[in-house]
Amino acid sequence: MKRRNFIQLSFGVGAAFALENLSEFFPSASAAEEPSIEPSELKMVAVQGGERVEMLSAAITAMGGMSRFVKPGQSVVLKPNASWDKTPELAANTHPSIVAHVIKLCLDAGAKEVVVFDHCCDAEQLAYASSGIADAVKAAGGTMLSGADKSLYREVEIKGARKLPKAAIHSAILDADVYINIPVLKHHGGAGMTACMKNAMGIVWDRLHYHHNDLHQCIAETQLVRMPELNILDAYSPMLRNGPKGKDINDLVEMKTMLLSTDIVAIDTAASKMLGNQDGDVRHIDCAAALGMGEKNLSRVPMRRISMPA
């Protein structure tokens, strides 16, 4: 078999899995037929169809509104994926419209301030500009902080960690009242997949330490520093190969999906299924589950599925 054919086939298979999982997520049943769960009990909401901003609004409303997470006068830190010098349509970064809308929702809920940052992989100046996030944050009334300024990081001890006993963490994460994680769903050459947990690698200063010392365990242990109050996963057009940077638009598949969850393990498990991974393919999910950070068995997660009207 030629390599090209093999790649075609494997992506075909992958996409088929992904679609299958999607249909598992979104049975033809409408939301009304699901067992009704109190919004405040919900741990996960999955939305499909429509445009990003309306999907986000619908999902947040289903979760009980932003006021469930942000109380008046609190400070909020958003951690999008703004790591790459790529334009929004290439989906290597969180879509700027989502970041902007989260800021708006937070400010409407009475947040004192909303700060946004990422410790970029490409040059920060380029990545912030190309991703469109710096402009979006400014327009929405948030504050963009630098992730490249070492003086903003503080060394903390991580209790219960084996491989990552201490790390320099961005002070915005340590100081804010509310931490909202807004990654984009992508394939990842090194870690298999990048979603909510992997995105938190952008809150630490020394990432190379991870690559030396059991990458997956370190990713899981990063969550011990601080669990996000809310994870919002942009899976509108996930990158299925060549991640996390991506090569061109052909790497993407349009799924028009967004996941919201308070449980970082559950949301990453769902995300992993969407990319067509088998259980155990993305080891940091298992590491985090073993550390007791969340529920890997999706059937035990109080969840609601919303299909947006076309």
Binding site: D85, G190, L208
Partner: protein, 566 residues
């Protein structure tokens, strides 16, 4: 009036010039002032750039007509010297004879070196480059500090961009002209500056240069005191146009309107009868001036001769000749190019690059990832201060061709982004024995994350793994290995990964279950796709030496593009 306008315009030019080095949002347009400088225009013209030919032609025409106004109005170093001169207490100048032989020496050395293919002397003495390097090495990080102190969005001040010896060189090469200016006005421009020598030749007969009308002169000598070039000689009633930098201070200082820039016949000799009748107290001043003991022309010839001899002693200034480099490299092979560092995309070939870059540092400040660094000896002596790509901490951004956009000298050609993304400036060398995945079996993949062309990709590899507690050191695996990849050291098998084919035969033959499959996600490099951006080298966590090292191309090549189904 003219002098005031000159000061305003000169300061404006200087401000825009400095701004183009401050590197936030450095664009094609902001390099306009750099492009209109003489040396960049000259070098770019040699490469056939049309805008440069226009700029050069206008500068030459300006000089032929108005004299060396470039030196006072446009040249950044000239303006800096004028500012420095204010540090002197008594500001009065006096006439000094023309140091023509020094000028001929430096100008001639530059010319001869240029003709023999070395730009080193020019790049060290050129006023544009000296001022530019000062902005790039010192003002740029200073501005970043100021920006941060004002609480604007954070900019990393990059003091380490120029290493200490280079920083000293930059500071000294600026302090020399400034110090000379404090001492004796524009003496640098009239003795050392090679551009001054060239423009001096052109401005000799400029019809619109400041001109002294002896009939009106009251011999108050105010003009002499105000002349930074010390070029006004009241004994012969002439202004030395080869040294006059067109600052027009003399016109402002003259209360009798004896000096003007009205058109005059530049070839006319001064008629003695035109001289003012009153010659002050003594009449002997009217006597013809005694002929100088040395003929200036002979001195110039001597200077030229001296520099010809001097330039013979500079063979090392020539760039490493192209013959040494094997130009027959294909994109996936690399001859031994470890002798020099990677040059920016658009530079084309090392020999060309070293001959047309003066190391002004504009690209270095414009590089958004700070990968371009000035060279000390990375390119050899001929590459002093010129940029090279340093992948220790950063790498060349894939969607960026800023250095080529901004280079005013044409040393880095402007490549369209598509073309730049296929230009192989270097080639990654993969040392699997250092790679964390190959050597230690850990999960890493950092290089694959960063590779923009996906020349690096993951392949699932199975290979034998030793379970030491089961091993008795019987050596059966070593005997049976088809590839002779296993040897026994200290009673344990050691596998040479360069030879191992991963067939698994050793695992099957081991009688003690001491070998098992180890499944790796290992990086593989496709050299035909590698553009040498250095993403992999910059991020590789292997220590002390990284597993991926970029080797430089002396001649840039075009890569293939990875074809994938949509």
């Amino acid at each position: 009036m003219l002098a005031h306008i000159r000061r305003l315009i000169a300061l404006l030019f200087l401000a825009i010039f400095i701004y183009s080095f401050l590197a936030w949002g450095t664009s094609h347009e902001s390099a306009l002032i750099a492009r209109s400088q003489f040396t960049p225009a000259l070098l770019s013209s040699l490469r056939g750039e049309s805008w440069a030919i226009i700029a050069l032609a206008s500068l030459l025409l300006l000089t032929l007509l108005l004299g060396r106004v470039y030196c006072s109005w446009i040249c950044p170093l000239g303006i800096m010297q004028d500012i420095a001169r204010h540090l002197r207490k008594g500001k009065a100048e006096r006439y000094s004879p023309n140091p023509i032989w020094i000028r001929a020496f430096f100008g001639g050395s530059c010319l001869i070196a240029l003709l023999s293919g070395s730009i080193l002397i020019l790049s060290l003495l050129d006023p544009y480059s000296i001022a530019a390097r000062f902005c790039s090495a010192i003002l740029n990080p200073l501005a970043a500090e100021l920006n941060n102190a004002l609480g604007r969005s954070f900019i990393q001040p990059d003091w380490a961009r120029y290493s200490l010896p280079l920083l000293l060189l930059v500071a000294l090469s600026l302090l020399l002209p400034l110090g000379m200016a404090i001492w004796r006005g524009r003496i640098y421009c009239n003795s050392i500056c090679p551009l001054g020598a060239l423009l001096g030749l052109l401005s000799r007969f400029a019809p619109l240069a400041p001109h002294l009308t002896p009939a009106n002169c009251g011999r108050c000598a105010h003009c002499v005191q105000s002349c930074k070039s010390q070029a006004i000689d009241l004994k012969t009633m002439r202004i030395d146009k080869t040294r006059c930098v067109g600052c027009y201070n003399c016109i402002a200082s003259c209360s009798n309107s004896a000096i003007s820039i009205r058109p005059h016949n530049p070839f006319a000799s001064i008629d003695p009868s035109e001289r003012p009748a009153k010659m002050g107290r003594k009449d002997q001043a009217a006597k013809p001036r005694p002929t100088p003991s040395a003929d200036p022309a002979r001195r110039a010839a001597l200077g030229l001769g001296a520099c010809a001899i001097g330039s013979l002693a500079l063979p090392s200034c020539r760039p490493a000749s192209a013959e040494q480099e094997k130009l027959s490299d294909t994109i996936d092979s690399l001859s031994n190019n470890h002798c020099h560092a990677v040059i920016p995309p658009g530079a084309g070939s090392l020999a060309n690059f070293l001959q047309s870059c003066t190391g002004c540092g504009l690209c270095i400040t414009a590089c958004p990832t700070k990968t371009l660094k000035p060279s000390l000896m990375q390119h050899g002596l001929s590459g002093l201060l010129k940029p090279h790509l340093n992948f220790r901490e950063s790498f060349c951004a894939f969607d960026c061709n800023q250095c080529g956009n901004i280079c005013p000298e044409g040393a880095i050609a402007h490549l369209p982004l598509k073309l730049k993304q296929q230009t192989q400036i270097g080639l990654a060398e993969f040392h699997s024995e250092r790679c964390l995945i190959w050597a230690d079996g850990v999960e890493c993949g950092a290089c694959i994350e960063h590779c923009p062309t996906k020349a690096l990709y993951i392949r699932k590899v199975s290979r034998p793994k030793l379970i030491a507690k089961n091993c008795t050191g019987c050596g059966l695996c070593a005997k049976r290995c088809y590839a002779q990849a296993i040897s026994i050291h200290n009673g344990l098998p050691v596998i040479d990964w360069a030879k191992c084919t991963g067939c698994g035969h050793c695992i099957r033959v081991c009688p003690h279950q001491a070998l098992d499959y180890d499944r790796l996600h290992a990086p593989i490099l496709n050299k035909k796709l590698c553009i040498g951006c250095g993403g992999c080298e910059a991020i590789c966590p292997a220590t002390p030496k990284r597993a991926l090292i970029i080797t430089a191309r002396a001649q840039h090549l075009q890569t293939e593009i990875k074809k994938e189904s949509p």
